[in-house]
Symmetry: C2
Subunit: 318 residues, 2 copies
Amino acid sequence: MEKPYVLGLDMGGTNSVLGIVDVRGHVIARTSIKTQQYPDINDYINALYEEAVKIVEPIGGFSLFRGIGAGVPNGNYYTGRIEGAMNLPWPSVPFAELMTERFGIPCKITNDANAAAQGEMTYGAAKGMKDFIMITLGTGVGSGIVIDGKVVYGHDGFAGELGHTTAVRGPEGRQCNCGKKGCLEAYASATGVARTAKEIISSTTKETILRNLDIDNITSKDVFDAAEQGDEVAKQIFDYTGTILGQQIADFIAFSAPEAIIMFGGLTKSGHWILDPVVKAINDNVLPLWRNKVKVLFSDLKEADAAVLGASSLAWEE
Amino acid sequence: MEKPYVLGLDMGGTNSVLGIVDVRGHVIARTSIKTQQYPDINDYINALYEEAVKIVEPIGGFSLFRGIGAGVPNGNYYTGRIEGAMNLPWPSVPFAELMTERFGIPCKITNDANAAAQGEMTYGAAKGMKDFIMITLGTGVGSGIVIDGKVVYGHDGFAGELGHTTAVRGPEGRQCNCGKKGCLEAYASATGVARTAKEIISSTTKETILRNLDIDNITSKDVFDAAEQGDEVAKQIFDYTGTILGQQIADFIAFSAPEAIIMFGGLTKSGHWILDPVVKAINDNVLPLWRNKVKVLFSDLKEADAAVLGASSLAWEE
């Protein structure tokens, strides 16, 4: 192959990781910069380019690269623009165009969850699957939907906002960052779990080791550690979170009848504590024909690599 | 063109309508039989064949036909089987295979809502659209989802069961025929509207002309007539129904970011009385980026033709 490499960029609100990926799907070199350090988008791209040169030159230069694929917050596949990404210094910019100009090779972008879904399909737990839904459980709740072997972008490029489907209707629904109430993201994200922990701990008199922690900064890791020690309140926190997540997933299954649901991100480190209530709630809420039929899996890609690999796979497209 | 015709079959629980469709999408002849009159599937297919001969022979015989496309309750596109259709005399049969044998031309099947979506895309309100969701509001609530120009079948062929997403959570959710509670179908179907009418009329002391009717048999037509005369309770029934429907549609939009939602079936005859609360609830429940962006349309195909045309379009496929 004439051009055996691509670059994959995983842009997060904190770090931007750039990796060189070969045709076998190995990340053979990587580098990173701090996303927030560049108030001007041109400075960000220049810094990224300078870092890229350091890893690209040793293997033969940009002429061996087919392109760049980037997973970026609020990245739009169709327009190549970042649009309304409030966690970035430049919420709305023509990112793909600027990258293509500076790097001299074509850049395609998508949002981070779609990139992760691409990565799963090409290299991960969804290898060989044509229909699956990826749910990313991190600071927010994102999703990448694959139907008939292709990531769903929708009419405007913004398909797959499953974190903003309504999990709890009515006034008791939690306020979400998006302005709506009761969104799945307000329950199944890291901050959602922290909030559930706080609510459950405050409303019970049960003994729990979680009470020894700073109640405003409880993480899913803390809850996991407690559950592992047999803490009933910790289990209750996972049950509550998993039930809400599974109920929503049941509706997603009614939509696209996927072969599998693949979960990715921090919350999955809680293993069966979160998986069991998710699976139960799915089976309690799907039509009989899907009961115990849809696989529920955790991503098996290393978290750091999944997004880089997924983003990079965009660059192999025609 | 060597074979300029196809047959389209719209099988309902009551009537089975068979039409001859030409390449321009005109239904040039049609016939029908009573679905329930044949306890044996072979007798049903023989009767259908005999009827077909009467309209096919005059235009030159089956050799001019490319195939048959059929929209049938619980029809599975992949397997060609009807599976678990409780409203048919033969809930589970290898329908496409039996039809192909008897008619001597290939038969493909799908479910009725998917057939309607195909019809809309090829001949109706969704002409030229690549991403839309069709919601059929009839005895039940069905859906056909089109993404990137193709009907979504999912991993098992059963995608698009949006009538069985959960509209009302918890014990107060209405019992649905599927065994679950709170399904959209229990609110937005004909029986759902009847039930809402009964509940609202019983729980109010307001004057309403609907009180003069048999409370167990109120139809959406009755409610429409009342609303047209300024009846406040009738309006309340549409508001309740439309709000629940619109809330669910908002979540569907977050899934596939469609260009349009197309509604089809009896309830759409209520016009703006149902449309207005649907649109309001969508806008109240989608992310800001979709507010007032997604078209909400009624099907403009004649109800009788939509399913025949949609089903027939399967027969043009390779």
